[in-house]
Symmetry: C2
Subunit: 339 residues, 2 copies
């Protein structure tokens, strides 16, 4: 097991890589903890939950909504959770988002930690304290930035991860490579998904590299005034098409990255769209998608990243180097119509 | 106008005493602000809201619930509120609680300020950043601690305050005197409500004294690890009976203070219950109430101040000096039954 600690504005987050799920008992006592998980994760790992108070919600992004929050809060009241209780989110990005949010508002905030069970959650969603729920078609419209107390990485949980979830997770890995890590991009170009699926050691290294890459960005810019915005690469169009077409997050981000590369060609003179598109395809991701341009643009106009009449758009200068450019709505409209 | 600034953990709060409502335009631009108010306040001060985008909710504690939050968020989306928007809560404690909460979670947090319109909000609810909503019978079960950017005190707004709201507000004034300010307690003993109602200058002084008293407590203990807990005097039984019997907050706190004085006699040897009871009556507040002891005790067991099998109870040593005593549930049960 490798332990690493990072200090955020108001708390320290402990990471436990290569840990075993059972190590959770060293971090929180069963008496003072409540696990939040989904029905799929619970069904797959039922034995691990023995002896833990658990709240089991329905699986899927469509349940990352207020009704589920209401349900979890009622169950917390029913089991007598108080200010000494720690919530532990065991699952993918939906679980970490919703668990962090509920912990942030229950009794004005209780402690929480995560055991991410998907690649996407391990390299992205569980890290950095952003949490929240969707409102109608708007992704993460409501939420908080609040850090977990701990992240426990048990890579053996990935054994039962469905193929499409591997693909989803690699969208964020490729995103990290595009914005911050050209050597990792080259390495991803040289391999394929099954290389990592078949080699637990290299997979563990890749996940840790990505988890630490994201952590370093958010630890220096927790409240997204600067560098953290780069992590939104692919997420502007991505979030719009994700809820509109109910497609997986990784697919949506992949489509969003494809679009952002095209925008970058126009605006920064970016030249490597083809390489990005090829890597996305290589890992089973769709770089293109026929979306309703007007409807997508309408949703974009309510994006959280908007500021008056423009959106802070993440573009690439080159592989491994991203930049923020405020694009006026009209220009985005024209760029979308030119796709 | 008197301006005072206080630095909290992650922001500075500016207080504007003796200000005029119209000074709001100096603090936020009409283009970038959305007011949240209730139908009563809006009806009384309709002219003041001219030119401001306003969300008007139903008045009353029974609307301090998630459904109202959902409604406000939908309206914010509809008017295009973004991260540069400032929410301004204009109203009593329900409005400041719900506005602070919505601002804390909308797009993961936007700026907010308050124009308190009741004595209770001016001396208590608007100060210190605690916000939230009720869940079933549980008061403020969900919420945050997050500071407003500003508080604008226009004392002329109190002219139209109904009598029962004056009485409500004085419950918190008497609370402050009991726990922290013996000279103010003596002064309250020597006067009656109509003295303050008829003398705007002394009223303004009293409100400012109370606002600053509370501010000094919360600025040194923002997250309620110590001294801030004293402000819960009267609020343990108070919150339980408030929602159970749908009585006004001030009445509930008054009843709670009466009970806490009785508990104090037993535990700290407090000797001035009669003085507290008399002051409460003098300002039109009920120090006693026939509540269902078992049902109240059941609600107490889910109080946020509970910690395992006890509640951190605020008791008085003497007028002007309070203390926290962890009381086991059984002892509270016995004390309630002896009332």
């Amino acid at each position: 097991m490798i332990k690493k600690s990072f200090s955020f504005s108001s708390s320290t987050v402990n990471y436990y890589f290569n840990a075993d799920f059972n190590y959770l008992e060293q971090l929180v006592s069963k008496d003072n903890a409540v696990i939040v998980t989904d029905e799929n994760v619970f069904a797959k790992h039922q034995k691990k939950f023995k002896g833990w108070k658990s709240i089991i919600i329905k699986a899927g992004e469509q349940h990352k909504v207020q009704a589920t929050v209401d349900d979890i809060i009622q169950q917390l009241i029913d089991v007598g959770a108080d200010r000494n209780t720690t919530l532990v989110g065991v699952g993918g990005g939906v679980i970490t988002d919703i668990t962090g949010y509920v912990a942030g508002i229950y009794m004005r905030g209780i402690a929480f930690g995560f055991v991410p069970t998907s690649i996407l959650a391990m390299v992205d969603a569980a890290i950095g304290g952003k949490n929240g729920i969707d409102v109608g078609l708007y992704k993460n419209m409501v939420g908080l930035i609040k850090q977990p107390a701990f992240l426990l990485y048990d890579f053996s949980l990935l054994k039962s991860l469905p193929k499409e979830e591997w693909v989803n997770g690699f969208a964020e890995v490729i995103k990290h490579a595009c914005i911050k890590d050209a050597p990792m991009f080259n390495m991803l170009e040289e391999n394929k998904l099954d290389y990592f699926q078949k080699d637990p050691e290299n997979l563990a290294k890749l996940i840790q590299r990505n988890a630490l890459l994201k952590t370093k960005v958010v630890v220096t810019d927790e409240f997204e005034n600067g560098d953290r915005k780069l992590l939104n690469f692919g997420h502007t169009i991505g979030h719009a098409v994700e809820n509109l077409y109910k497609i997986p997050h990784g697919h949506a981000v992949s489509i969003g990255m494809g679009v952002a590369c095209k925008f970058s060609e126009e605006i920064t003179g970016f030249k490597d769209t083809a390489r990005v598109v090829n890597v996305l395809k290589q890992y089973g991701l769709p770089p293109q998608f026929e979306f309703d341009k007007e409807e997508t643009f309408r949703i974009l106009k309510s994006d959280k990243k908007k500021s008056n009449q423009s959106i802070n758009y993440v573009l690439l200068n080159k592989i491994g180097k991203a930049t923020i450019v405020p694009l006026p709505f009209e220009q985005i409209h024209a760029l979308i119509n030119n796709l």
